[in-house]
């Protein structure tokens, strides 16, 4: 049994958490994430959460709380955005190093100064080296499905997973979302089985001092676990599709016949591009969903299969002094390809809205003889 509900991305996230059989939710509010925690609080108030809802005194503490609960073998969730994510930074590293399979939603929002509420992706992207899986979503349905899948992926790999989506464009925008019943979700994801680290009655010196050599062994094992993610994700999506009829890839490509140009982007901008494709000539979309691990192999395979000559990357972010981050990562993935495509970058840092006009304008400024152009959304 499934039912369509018209909800926004934040509600989709909260309902997915409730359906996932959560033990504990740790919460601290920040715009534009608040609807997620308020929806979860509503579930708790009605006795429908299935677990406990706890308000902490900061984001740092919310993630620390998740850390402690996960050590007891509990399934936990938290959500944040922007300054909240930045404030968690030390714990973000620690959760991954300690192999706690925590799922966190991050709703993209620019980081100050100055204060800005628009959906720059720099908050989540500046956590790219912390050992968290990162998956970017382009709509509320995707948010719902991805959160459920994130628990499965995270608990299997013993790596925390960040599910990322744009503030307002996804968090506050309503769409029809297909929501399976809780008992059907139970067929996809059962109670947590990853096991507790803290076992009362048994000694254990968990995450105490390591030598450089042991630290390297641990870093490497995390790295190798993460590299298993794309294949495992495919498997998980196979199961998900059999149950609910939807599946996603680490990347999802839409290539009209004869397309030699691809627009690569992540998050809500992918949905904008999808809508614009019929208006664009010989241009396709590569939606980057999984950002960590970076699906370099899958990207190269798509670019080679369709013989893509030019890629326009839409980066709603900027690594200051280096440029758009998705473009950077794409370029490094192309190293070694016999005929790598040109990579042009449309930077929408600050959270600037992507419009059809902007896309068309950018595509017109990418002559074949140029290998790389940096374009900005705001003149």
């Amino acid at each position: 049994m499934m039912a369509f509900e018209v909800i926004n991305g934040s509600q989709a996230a909260a309902i997915a958490v409730q359906r996932a059989g959560i033990d504990l939710v740790a919460a601290y509010p920040i715009t534009p994430q608040t609807v997620i925690v308020e929806t979860l609080a509503d579930f708790a108030a009605k006795g429908e959460l299935g677990g406990e809802f706890v308000s902490l005194e900061s984001e740092y503490s919310a993630l620390s709380f998740c850390n402690g609960a996960s050590a007891a073998g509990a399934r936990v969730f938290t959500a944040t955005a922007s300054h909240g994510l930045a404030y968690m930074h030390e714990m973000i590293h620690w959760c991954s190093g300690a192999r706690f399979p925590i799922v966190m939603a991050n709703v993209n929002r620019a980081i100050g100064a100055p204060w800005c509420l628009d959906p720059d992706q720099g908050d989540s992207l500046s956590q790219r080296d912390t050992g968290w899986l990162q998956i970017y979503c382009s709509g509320a349905q995707e948010v719902f499905d991805t959160i459920l899948q994130a628990f499965a992926l995270s608990e299997e790999l013993l790596l925390p997973c960040m599910v990322v989506f744009d503030g307002f464009y996804i968090s506050h925008t309503y769409e029809a979302v297909d929501i399976p019943e809780i008992q059907d979700v139970g067929k996809f994801i059962g109670p947590p089985s990853f096991g507790a680290q803290v076992i009362p009655g048994e000694p254990g010196n968990l995450h105490g001092m390591a030598s450089a050599e042991n630290q390297q062994r641990l870093v490497r094992s995390r790295h190798e676990a993460m590299l298993r993610a794309p294949a495992l994700y495919e498997e998980i999506n196979g199961r998900y599709e059999r149950l609910f009829g939807r599946k996603y890839g680490a990347i999802d490509a839409v290539m009209p016949p004869g397309a030699r140009t691809a627009i690569l982007t992540a998050g809500a901008t992918a949905e904008t591009v999808r809508w614009c494709l019929p208006d664009l000539e010989q241009t396709g979309l590569i939606q980057l969903r999984m950002f960590r691990p970076f699906p370099a192999k899958q990207l190269c395979a798509v670019l080679e299969t369709y013989d893509i000559e030019k890629v326009l990357v839409v980066d709603r972010n900027c690594s200051i002094g280096a440029g758009g981050i998705f473009a950077q990562e794409l370029k490094s993935a192309l190293y070694g390809l016999a005929r790598p495509p040109a990579v042009h970058d449309l930077i929408l840092a600050g959270g600037v809205d992507l419009t059809g006009a902007l896309i068309k304008n950018a595509l017109s400024k990418m002559p074949l003889e140029n290998r790389s152009t940096e374009l900005w959304g705001v003149e």
């Binding site: 005194e57 503490s61 509990a74 030390e90 009362p200 048994e202 010196n205 105490g208």
Partner: protein
């Protein structure tokens, strides 16, 4: 059976740990785990104890130790307790162990949050009155007049030692108490009482540190006793933030402060004026404490 043999069976600390000889913090945790074990889990924040606990796969304690980042102890402890409850293991006592830095300074926010939520954990601060893990730098628990490596001679710690007990009392938590290793029975009684109470409990243990304080290794227990006898570290407990009670009373017969200061090199260059100022500060605190306690509970 000798008392010692009885204790040996309850002992949770394992010999060969990494503490310096005469470490008050090691002794405090020995008493603590003995009193609260064996169904015990410890959340341990960055501190000397991160080292004392040993490097995995070795360990210094027979119970699980969950290390955590420096500011996070109160919240990790809260999460662990609620996680254990969710998994049907709510009968395990969760102890958060932190130094004075992890309690008075960088850990204060998470501690306050956990106390305000009345989380069902015992937060134990072993107070060696400075950041010892990093080599004896000033914390807000360092007493006025002491020298540290961030206040080297002719500098000295300025300002009062933060009154953490007042802060905890202001949270209205069910139980808070001070303790020292010189009064192990008092310490054990307080820990057992804490364990019998549900909700947030706070234990503040003065923990002499021979290398940091410039004291003799053999002097740790003696110094702890002098700290109590001079009124530098009074022994008391607070129920529900309002019901204050002395558990060891000296009243007017407090020993002169010099008996305590003279045995520690960190106070060596303290001039008369500063000693008088420190004495006045302690007198103020004593007066405050006596007012809180009231005549009947001066024990």
């Amino acid at each position: 059976m000798l008392v010692d043999d009885l204790n040996r069976e309850r002992e949770m600390i394992i010999s060969g740990h990494n503490a310096c000889p005469g470490c008050g913090a090691a002794l405090a945790v020995r008493y603590l785990t003995r009193a609260l074990g064996p169904n015990l889990a410890i959340v341990l924040t960055a501190s000397c104890w991160s080292i004392i606990a040993g490097a995995p796969p070795l360990t210094a304690l027979k119970c699980p130790i969950l290390h955590c980042p420096f500011p996070s102890a109160g919240s990790v402890g809260s999460g662990l307790k609620r996680g254990l409850e969710a998994k049907g293991k709510g009968d395990t006592t969760v102890v958060v162990l932190a130094g004075d830095g992890g309690t008075f300074d960088i850990g204060l926010q998470a501690l306050s949050g956990a106390a305000q939520r009345n989380e069902d954990i015992i937060f134990v601060c072993y107070d060696n009155e400075a950041y010892m893990n990093t080599g004896m730098q000033t914390s807000s628990a360092t007493p006025f007049g002491a020298r540290t490596n961030t206040a080297p001679y002719p500098l000295f710690k300025e300002g009062r030692k933060k009154d953490i007990m007042q802060i905890m009392a202001a949270h209205g938590i069910p139980y808070a108490a001070t303790a020292t290793v010189a009064f192990p029975d008092d310490m054990e009684a307080k820990l057992k009482k804490a364990q019998s109470i549900t909700g947030f409990r706070f234990i503040h243990v003065l923990s002499p540190c021979p290398p940091g304080w410039g004291s003799e290794s053999a002097d740790t227990v003696h110094l702890s006793r002098l700290a109590v006898q001079t009124g530098f570290f009074p022994l008391y407990e607070i129920h529900n933030g309002v019901d204050w009670k002395m558990t060891w009373m000296t009243d007017k017969s407090r020993l002169p402060l010099s008996a305590y200061l003279d045995r520690q090199r960190r106070f060596k260059q303290m001039d008369k004026e500063k000693i008088v100022a420190l004495q006045e500060e302690l007198d103020d605190e004593w007066y405050f404490l006596m007012n809180k306690v009231g005549p009947a509970d001066r024990c």
